[in-house]
Amino acid sequence: MKSYNLIRYDLQKNIRAHAFHLLMICFISVFCFAFFYADAVQTYWSARTFHENVQNMRNAGVSLTDSLLHLTGGMLPIHNFSNIADQRIEDYPIKWLVIQFLILYFTCEYARSDLSGGGVQILSRIHNRTLWWIAKCIWNFITVLSCFAVLFLTWFILAACFHIPFTSSIDNNLFSGMFYALPKISQVSGKQAFLIFFLLPVLTCSSISLIEMTLTLYVRPVIAYILCCIYYLAGMFLVHPLFLTNYSMSIRSSIFAFYRFTPAVGLGICLILMLLSIIIGIIHLSKMDLLDTTQMKYTRSWL
């Protein structure tokens, strides 16, 4: 009962800010969908009128899977860094990164600020630092999950409104336009789509968000945020399983046969990192002095 009340308190405390955050995510989803739609129509641009070109795109069978690839696909890694200057800005998955960075921003400060504010009242009532930390981890997960839920829900509604068929086929032209390569598969199954488009992005973002929250116990939230963003960005260029960005970009999944990042390994790494963050947080918090912001000058200088 205590844990339930604790999580409810965290959610109620942030409800107004979170509603605003979800609205932002909703707008970004609309913005990204508009980009996808424009891209899809442009790929099949051959007629005079916009309406005719939309019809061309529909006839080509551009599907929901294509749209999700456009949103979550990311980019294939750059192998020859001497050519990095030739990359165009649209080659980078800016929209996808902005979404991840925003979610990390939403979750970065709460736990830390609560420790030197209202959280003290909670701690004095529950007498248990572990329970407090676990409640914060659950709050963190719910926040990330709700952001992605709004993102994808908005996406599905828009796809339905714009008559994008909910099918699993992959459009060659659109794919090659996005990734400068031809798809090695023609469609993805429902289970695969769930794994790479929904589950892995949610879990990778949630893991990094938990790591970030744990880091805020050691350094200032802004530093934890910057470190996590750098880690995220590094994964765009470094093809290594320890960089979770490789799992959050669906094009790098083994399902598309360009790389060997299997979803199961991704899920495993995410769960291990989440567990590690929770455990490190529990251990550190049990030894940590809970000071208010004015007293922190005794403990830290620039950190």
Binding site: K2, Y9, G118, I126, D289, D292, T299
Partner: protein
Amino acid sequence: MNIKIQNMTKTLNHTDILSDINLDMTGGQVYGLHGINGCGKTMLMRAVAGLIHPTKGQILVNGRILQGQNSFPENMGLLLENPAFLNQYTGFVNLKLLAQIRNRIGTDEIRESLKRVGLDPDDTRQYRKYSLGMKQRLGIACAIMEHPDLILLDEPFISLDETGVQMTRTIIKEEKDRGALILLSSHDYELLTSSADQIFHLTAGKVTKHFQKLQDGTFKEASL
């Protein structure tokens, strides 16, 4: 309720914030911490509240050492320097949300504690619109609403007007008569003498003087 602080030292960043503190406190008494800003009053409060861990020595509450995961005294009410509540809710809703965590008291007790500090439980104003004095009153209500055995009040008279100060004195007396152990801090010696039974004077993290209240209400220096 019994609190023993034994040879407690707290060092932060190679500086002794509290140094060799020895105190013995029992329920039904009001203890005052007096000293200038930065002398360690709030740190000592935080140590007793279980928010910071002693570097040396120990704190025992009812014979149990405060340490590790379970560093908090049972049944404690707390008012620290800056009472932090949720800006978007009224005072009543704020207290209700906090009370729901332990589920020991109902709405009647919350309303009662708000009335005790001179706040209207039916006031529809959000916390953000409260004046400094009202915020302080809400903080005091939060500390006393669950009838705790240990009440820690850090600078409770700050931001309060004359009526508020008198009201706080009355509450402290009532809680003392109920049997609670009350530890309050203030840099104003006169205010402390009006409520406390014993006063500890802190200088640079050390307890340097101890005053005890006599039958006639005056204070006499006692041994440490």
